[in-house]
């Protein structure tokens, strides 16, 4: 609640800084495209070589966005004794690939995430930091916890809710499709078998069949 009040008190300052952040984000997003006509932004088409998968578009998030995402990625998927954190497997690179893709759903996610990141920077500005990543680790964690709590209790704005949910979905999706992530949840398939004999006795007992 305190944080909400602080935000209200600093509204004018926040709005001003967010406007600056917004402009700079737009500038950074668009400038490389104008400068380099070579930026690839095509989809892979309807006749792909599935045995030689190629990402046909360039990843276009800027370095500030990537730095913020890397921190957020580890807040969403932290390392523990069973598996590494998101940054160790560079899941942010997958998020960058996703939001740079030229397809409508991915472009929608790009909008959701880049605007969400700009809002986080705005909140960092209230704490005299230019970017979210400039905050101390504790402050980053606090700010993300506030966002998560507001999503949990339904007080978050629609934009913030979507921002949080899409980030979690993409980090979960990126992480649990890696070898480490699949091992963590216990996926043991995708191997050739002579025969399929059904679940082992141990499983049958546990589920009562």
């Amino acid at each position: 609640m305190n944080k909400d009040k602080v935000m209200t008190a600093n509204r004018r300052k926040v709005l001003k800084l967010m406007a600056v952040a917004g402009t700079s984000a737009a500038y950074l997003q668009n400038y490389p495209r104008m400068a380099e006509a070579q930026t690839r932004s095509e989809g892979y088409g309807q006749d792909v070589n599935v045995n030689n998968p190629v990402v046909t578009w360039d990843k276009t998030l800027d370095s500030n966005q990537l730095k913020n995402l890397t921190i957020i990625g580890d807040l969403i998927i932290p390392a523990d004794d069973k598996s590494p954190g998101a940054s160790f497997l560079d899941i942010t690179d997958f998020v960058n690939e996703w939001v740079s893709a030229p397809y409508p759903n991915q472009q929608k996610d790009r909008d959701t995430i880049t605007r969400g990141l700009a809002r986080l920077n705005g909140r960092a500005n209230e704490n005299d930091a230019r970017y979210f990543y400039d905050l101390s680790a504790d402050m980053q964690a606090d700010m993300f916890e506030t966002l998560a709590k507001s999503v949990e209790n339904g007080s978050a704005t629609e934009d913030d809710t979507l921002f949080f949910e899409r980030l979690v979905y993409l980090y979960v999706g990126g992480f649990y499709t890696t070898d480490e992530g699949m091992a963590d949840i216990g996926y043991v398939g995708n191997v050739p078998l002579e025969s399929f004999d059904g679940p082992p006795e141990e499983i049958r007992k546990l589920i009562g069949v």
């Binding site: 309807q46 045995n51 990126g174 216990g186 995708n190 078998l193 059904g198 589920i207 069949v209």
Partner: protein, 576 residues
């Protein structure tokens, strides 16, 4: 002069069966395919993981069923080849490759039952086909021997769901853990379960290998374990020396003689050069997929056939149908924290419950007031441990109810609940009515200037009632499985007291050139030969009269083989 005995347009389940039937009988065949050459042996992705694909393999407008799906230049949209729809809307899945949609095919191959061919006679509702189960049975046997399938013990078959004989079908894989629970729950409901007849080999057949129980079949099958028309029919047909294959040839017109009573060939556009070319034969067989057959006939007007070829009945493009369906996302607490175990299997359900209510039993049910029925099964997609975990197939279920979850608690949740979410589903009959048909759009044309189809779609009240009954059964099933319903699709699906959703969504669209005993009310006779043009046949899903809850492919193939036999017979008699 005819260069070939027979031209077959389209190389999917219908076309593949036709060329195999004809070429192996010594008939000179030209196969004309709109898409490119495709060979699953070298092209299908088998063990590749989502992590190796762009966007972790998730679906995009370019690849509607995900990056690794076998479909080439297709999906619900084909660039430059649009279609329109009105009413409840329609989705039209197409593929542009040798083998057509048989690579993307789910491989479920149940037989139609005796009642399915004689709905009107047996139940007083629907329509009768001009063939009986007894007529079709030998063709089911022969098709299955070429295609290969696993299925249940034929002696286990329930009423109106006949199964492949034990000397043809192969042994099924064992049920998965979730399916054992499904079977237990069905038993409580008095519903019998058994292996689902599926065109996948569990033992080698015709130089094809047995399944190795990994990899989703919609990627195509490089070892030939899952049936596709290229591996099982077109390659052996080619080996006879009687088959010529023309790819990238988009047929848009049947060519007629001056009298307008005999087909002499077809006209196509070469996709690469955009040249219009003609090819000739004694007999023309259309098998480009049901909707396209109607489109070609309606676009093949002559002075004698001003409303479209073979359309003296006015029935071309009419009586379309798809299957109906319902699904629930469920979560089973008993499946939480289970030790890792391999549940991949064949990527299709290993078990199912064939439709169980008939006659008095159905009447007693009270709210089962509809033609046909539906089957029950656990979906191999949308949860569970089937296949490598992926965003939309696995994690979206696990995250569906979560609000604000992240960090260590998120990781704990993912471990605990992995494999405990799944989708239970029904596939059902559709009531065939005059409200579902296609016409030629009066304005829109494809990139080559060929008029495109316009679909008119309207679900009937009976489809609504059947689907409502499906959800009732699914909810009882969920309860009996010890599951809770996470996502109840019926809320939107049945909203406003009508069935919401688009036709074609289940990729089972058939009809448009229905067969019959009366030339005034049907387009084809009982051999799939057009009433109006004796040397013109239709051998895809277009001949369907009614639509049961059984997936249509096996019946498409059996009808095609039967038509093929008829062509061979008439060629021998010199009738063409």
């Amino acid at each position: 002069m005819a260069e070939h005995d027979v031209i077959v347009v389209g190389s999917g389940a219908g076309g593949g069966t036709m060329v195999h039937t004809l070429a192996t009988a010594g008939v000179n065949v030209l196969l004309v395919e709109a898409g490119r050459q495709y060979d699953p042996e070298t092209e299908a992705a088998m063990f590749q993981l989502p992590q190796e694909a762009p966007l972790r393999g998730e679906s995009t407008p370019d690849k509607n069923s995900g990056f690794y799906d076998a479909t080439v230049d297709g999906g619900f949209e084909v660039k430059g080849q649009p279609y329109t729809s009105e009413g409840d809307g329609f989705l039209w899945w197409r593929a542009r490759q040798l083998g057509g949609r048989t690579h993307h095919f789910g491989r479920q191959t149940p037989r139609y039952g005796p009642d399915d061919f004689k709905s009107k006679t047996r139940t007083g509702r629907g329509e009768d086909w001009p063939v009986t189960y007894e007529d079709m049975e030998p063709y089911y046997d022969r098709v299955e021997q070429i295609m290969g399938l696993f299925g249940p013990d034929a002696n286990e078959a329930v009423y109106n769901s006949p199964q492949s004989p034990n000397h043809i079908r192969q042994a099924p894989p064992a049920p998965r853990a979730s399916e054992l629970l499904f079977a237990q729950a069905c038993e409580k409901m008095g519903i019998k379960t058994m292996a689902h007849p599926t065109a996948i080999l569990t033992s080698p057949l015709h130089d094809r290998q047995a399944c190795f129980y990994a990899t989703n079949c919609i990627r195509g099958c490089s070892i030939g374990a899952a049936y596709d028309s290229v591996t099982s029919q077109i390659k052996p047909a080619k080996e006879t020396g009687n088959l010529t294959i023309l790819t990238n040839a988009v047929v848009y017109k049947v060519l007629m003689n001056e009298e307008g009573d005999k087909a002499i060939g077809v006209r196509y556009i070469d996709r690469r050069t955009e040249e219009h070319k003609d090819v000739f034969a004694k007999v023309v067989v259309l098998a480009p997929a049901a909707m396209e057959s109607s489109r070609i006939l309606l676009n093949s007007k002559t002075d004698k056939a001003p409303n479209g070829l073979a359309n003296s009945s006015g029935n071309v493009g009419k009586y379309l149908s798809d299957t109906t369906g319902a699904s629930l996302m469920i979560q089973i607490p008993k499946f939480e924290n289970l030790p890792p175990h391999n549940e991949d299997g064949v990527s299709q359900p290993h078990l199912y419950a064939p439709w169980w209510l008939h006659g008095e039993e159905k009447e007693k049910e009270g709210d089962a007031d509809f033609i046909g029925g539906y089957k029950l099964e656990v979906s191999p997609y949308g949860g569970g441990r089937f296949g490598p975990p992926a965003l939309s197939d696995t994690f979206s279920q696990q995250l569906y109810e979560q609000k604000g979850l992240y960090g260590k608690k998120l990781k704990a949740h993912m471990r605990k609940t992995y494999g405990s979410f799944m989708t239970i589903r029904c596939l059902g009959s559709m009531t065939v009515t005059e409200d579902n048909y296609l016409t030629i759009d009066p304005e829109l044309k494809d990139k080559w200037g060929i008029p495109v189809p316009k679909f008119h779609w309207k679900w009937s009240d009976e489809d609504f009632r059947r689907t409502k009954h499906m959800y009732k059964s699914l909810k009882t099933l969920a309860k009996n499985m010890g599951a809770r319903v996470v996502r109840d699709r019926s809320i939107t699906h049945l909203e406003g007291g009508k069935l919401n959703g688009r036709g074609g969504d289940t990729n089972h669209e058939v009809g448009g050139c229905r067969m019959g005993d009366d030339p005034k009310t049907s387009v084809l006779n009982k051999y799939s030969q057009t009433w109006d043009v004796s040397n013109l046949y239709v051998a895809d899903g277009a001949p369907f009269v009614t639509h049961s809850e059984k997936n249509p492919t096996l019946t498409i193939m059996a009808l095609s083989m039967r038509a093929g036999d008829n062509i061979i017979d008439r060629l021998k008699k010199g009738e063409f």
